[in-house]
Symmetry: C2
């Protein structure tokens, strides 16, 4: 027998059972087996998100774990998977995967109803085929093509083996009555007679994945669902994942497999929820930033990570879902709209289309705020009417890098107000506060600025009654330890304010840089479009008040929800929308901010907070 150098790890409740080398980190073992763990800190024991329950032979508790884990949980067997190591046979239980509430995350799509479909991407034709006999032993493939020719589609071809397999099974089950679904002249699948084909639109973000299950005939949304991007177990931000994937090709392959698996899981959940067969999903579209798209496709990444930041491919693609590990209808094709460049992905193209930024009849600034903030300036009459930049805003507004930050989920403080010297906070679901999310941070910092609790440089007024100062530093307490969900104070610290300054300065300076390149300034803006779930959920006035977005008198401010998701749906449903998306890269000029000297100056200038006319008055009133 081989020497005892490995042990069995049972993942409860349903497996898998893994043979792991003794001494291996539990997180490595679990991630290697294809399981998903949140590890915002990249496995350094700092974020506490990879908490698992362990029973059996496991290494002793590390100091990082003692710091991160509540002693009661520690005593009951909770551990950080990134610190605990396999010491022998053991059982482990992972946290339930997080699913996002479609409403709270505003992934339910545009409120304007389904788009006008001028040229549907899929066309269904109901057919009644003659059954085979010894006198008529044509192959199923030829039988279908002959029937399509008789129905006026002589050029139609069924050339995908999986779609042919679906035909052979379904035709016999359904007595040779079925619907052939064509994309152009290509049969992509067969489905039940008289029933519309379905489609899946996916917006693949670094943090979050949003998916929409649609009726391909009328565009109606049958289900919408979001989930955290499981790649978070390889680091919260895209750069960390990119670097890991380049350093360790195996990790790159795992990141690719992970995201494909997550989309496949979502497809399963959404079709179950809508009460339809997943075999009826005959088309998919996917948009994402360049790194996410490259990871999804399993493309090389090294050239994306160093100047001049070149995409491997940037033109639209149509690929069999099967090649991407997605179990949709056997012949389903996945459409990926074009990228603009190494830093500007198809999510931006979809956002531009979904938010109507490619119309160019107005001077518009579009912001899609995320770990990277996509900034689009639309300038009428310019040769390249779309100026695009990616601002390195970091995950601050997603709750990372903040002492009490969290994602916009149950328990997150999302509204903060100070009136008459008194603080009022609201959590998303009304439960006791567990932390503060991006919109809460904007409110809090806007109020700090409005009421003079911080100066222009962001320093907290240590003498102010709402500012608490003790051995751990100065901070603005939103909920005391006695009020919070887990017995720890929820506060905005001096360091947190610094993080917010870095993020807002990057975003604001990016827009100003693009305006300067077009010979314009913020006062020329006629419209400011805020896209994305975060951009659609914060208070616009407070965002102006703390300097995140320009405050332009007379400009229209629109919060458009997940415009990238809207664009992804249009690209799913309509060939005309695909052509519209295809035209966007040619209209776009990508501006690499690291190559723009004025960006650094503008960034430095925007670290400061705006002076507010009523600051002194308000301060007196407190």
């Amino acid at each position: 027998m081989p020497a005892q150098t490995s042990a069995t790890v049972h993942v409860l409740p349903d497996g898998p059972t893994i043979i792991a080398p003794l001494g291996a980190k539990l997180s490595d073992v679990l991630v290697e087996a294809g399981l998903s763990l949140a590890m915002d800190c990249g496995g350094k024991g700092l974020c506490g998100r990879c908490l698992v329950w362990v029973e059996g032979a496991v290494s002793a508790v590390e100091p990082e774990e003692a710091k991160q884990i509540d002693p009661a949980l520690l005593a009951r067997g909770h551990r950080l998977a990134c610190q605990a190591r396999v010491a022998g046979e053991l059982n482990v239980r992972l946290p339930e995967p997080e699913r996002l509430d479609a409403k709270a995350w505003r992934i339910e799509g545009d409120e304007d109803g389904p788009p006008a479909m001028t040229e549907p991407a899929l066309n269904g034709i109901d057919l009644h085929l003659p059954a085979p006999s010894l006198q008529d032993p044509r192959s199923d493939q030829r039988r279908l093509e002959d029937a399509l020719a008789a129905a006026g589609r002589p050029e139609a071809r069924l050339d995908d083996p999986l779609a042919a397999g679906q035909l052979s099974r379904l035709a016999r089950e359904a007595g040779w009555r079925l619907r052939a679904v064509l994309r152009g002249r290509r049969v992509v699948g067969v489905g039940p007679w008289g029933q519309p084909a379905l489609g899946l639109a996916v917006d693949l973000g670094s943090t979050k994945l949003a998916a929409y299950l649609c009726d391909m005939e009328n565009g109606a949304i049958l289900a919408a669902k979001g989930m955290l991007n499981p790649q978070a177990s390889f680091g919260a931000d895209v750069v960390t994942r990119l670097q890991r994937a380049i350093a360790k090709p195996d990790d790159g392959r795992r990141l690719t497999a992970m995201i494909r698996q997550a989309i496949d899981d979502l497809a399963g959940e959404m079709t179950r929820q809508a009460g339809v067969e997943r075999q009826r999903v005959m088309a998919m579209s996917l948009v994402g930033n360049s790194v996410m798209t490259h990871l999804f496709l399993g493309l090389p990444l090294a050239q994306l990570a160093a100047p001049p930041f070149v995409a491997c491919l940037d033109q639209p693609l149509d690929l069999p879902a099967e090649r991407l590990g997605l179990r949709l209808a056997p012949g389903a094709l996945v459409h990926l709209p074009p990228l603009v460049g190494g830093f500007v992905g198809s999510d931006n193209v979809a956002m531009i289309m979904g938010a109507g930024l490619d119309g160019a009849e107005r001077c518009r600034l579009g912001l899609d705020i995320g770990t990277n903030t996509e900034v689009t300036l639309s300038v009428p009459g310019r040769d390249k009417p779309l100026l695009i930049a990616s601002a390195p805003s970091g995950p601050t507004f997603e709750g990372a890098h903040l002492s009490a930050g969290m994602r916009a989920m149950a328990g997150a403080i999302h509204r903060v107000g100070v009136e008459g010297g008194r603080l009022a906070v609201q959590t998303i679901d009304g439960s006791p506060p567990a932390g503060v999310c991006g919109s809460g941070v904007i409110d809090a910092v806007a109020e700090l600025n409005r009421h003079g609790l911080i100066n222009k440089l962001g320093h907290l007024d240590r003498g102010h009654p709402l500012v608490r100062v003790d051995g751990t530093g100065a901070r603005f307490v939103l909920a005391g330890a006695d009020q919070s969900a887990h017995g720890a104070e929820v506060a905005i610290s001096q360091a947190d304010i610094g993080q917010v300054q870095l993020a807002k300065a990057a975003i604001r300076a990016a827009g100003q840089t693009l305006l300067a390149l077009a010979g314009l300034s913020e006062s020329d803006l006629e419209e400011v479009v805020l896209a994305g779930s975060f951009g659609s959920n914060f208070g616009v006035e407070n965002a102006k008040a703390m300097g995140l977005i320009p405050d332009v008198a007379g400009a229209v401010y629109r919060q458009v929800g997940n415009a990238a998701g809207v664009g992804a749906r249009w690209a799913l449903l309509d060939m005309a929308a695909r052509r519209r998306a295809l035209a966007i890269p040619a209209k776009a000029q990508y501006v690499e901010l690291t190559g723009e000297s004025r960006f650094n100056g503008l960034f430095a200038r925007n670290l400061a907070f705006p002076a507010l006319a009523d600051r002194s008055v308000q301060a007196q009133a407190l």
Copy 2:
């Protein structure tokens, strides 16, 4: 901890380690883990081919094993995997996978040199691309397409993500000098500057897999290799596999995975042997019978197994190698020539092309003898000049169903002669006889017939000195227990002769049925073409003498080797050959023998052995 219901099975020397339920058959455990075992009997303990070595907790020896396994081997731990069951942790060692000698199996291809390539399937263009810079950050995809446009190929498109990935890697390694390889307007891959693309032609037989690694520019064969079809662990014949795959869809998936894995393994071995990167294999062709093709593609099988025996698809296909689990060049396409119908596969189409049977300037009979024998009659001037039937000949000539039968490998008796009352036998490699293969059986039965040791009905002359009769029955002993490799007699029994009669009658009657349908008889034949490794290795005169093939005065007899393999190579290399193959189904009339009443009569008549003019003379001379 879960209750102890499973145990660990270590496969030596390199794994895998499998967790198996207690009580599971070792063969099920190994096959489920993707390992290949020969089980001609389908796992009934009758063929002895799944012999493995076991150490550890295994069930007691079954009576079948005691019969099949040499006691010395049994004592040393050898077991039949289809009988032994897991009783706890154990180690197991499988026999080395069998690889076939290209020469002995006549898979080295035609001896006429590479085919004339009128329209090469792939075209290479050497390019020197400008390196990207901040001023020129075009994607790698667009950079290549622009360079191809400058080289006179403006319509060329690189639209496969894997080929694009290969470009990104190779261009940077090779300083932006590379060869783009196009199939029509599609870039299928990039390779080293100045080096020809390679291709793989595969002839996928039920029993045997033959593969040729070719230079796509000049057609030269760089390597040829054969192996037993690993699906044999699911039964030697195609009908058993078909039935199992239909009854258990999981087994069907496993059969598909097995054959893809085997081809992938062969590709790896052959490129290593030829000293080339497998990334340079940019095209593949595959021919096979309809069931093998359906299994390879993972298509539904039920409609193939019952009247009217309908193919799911029959038209030519070009599929990304990646979709088939084959690790060739990332953008490589696999070409599958058309099938003729549910019973006539692309191997027959390739054989017809490779053997020149589609010329139709002569009346020709083509026989490709295997578990099913493909019979082709070429009749000049007929509306459908090709009549095709599949004769249910069974695996007798592959050595199965015979008391001492074996495949044509080392130790197999392949030549038998009787002269002057004395028997002379030859084995393939001159080693002591281990069994008798198909060509040896033909010789033996021809000599039995020639010398009157059997009568017309095949009954052995029990009084003849070369016929041994004892408690186990009458038989023609080719090697005594003392001369054989494993201490057991090698003989042709009365039952074996019956098997040979069934096989030869089916083959001969199939040809006669086709001739009768065309209003012809055997005497009208101008040429008899014998294809396949078996058909090219037996003695033609003896095959006539025992009635396997017609004996027509003045007809030309040609043994053409693996004509299906030749056709597969042509289809790999040349677009004109692909069009030629595409034309064959329209010229072909498939004849379902079970629907032809005259077949049964002819079959019964052909069970008898031919009367030989010199039989009495020879018999006297003994």
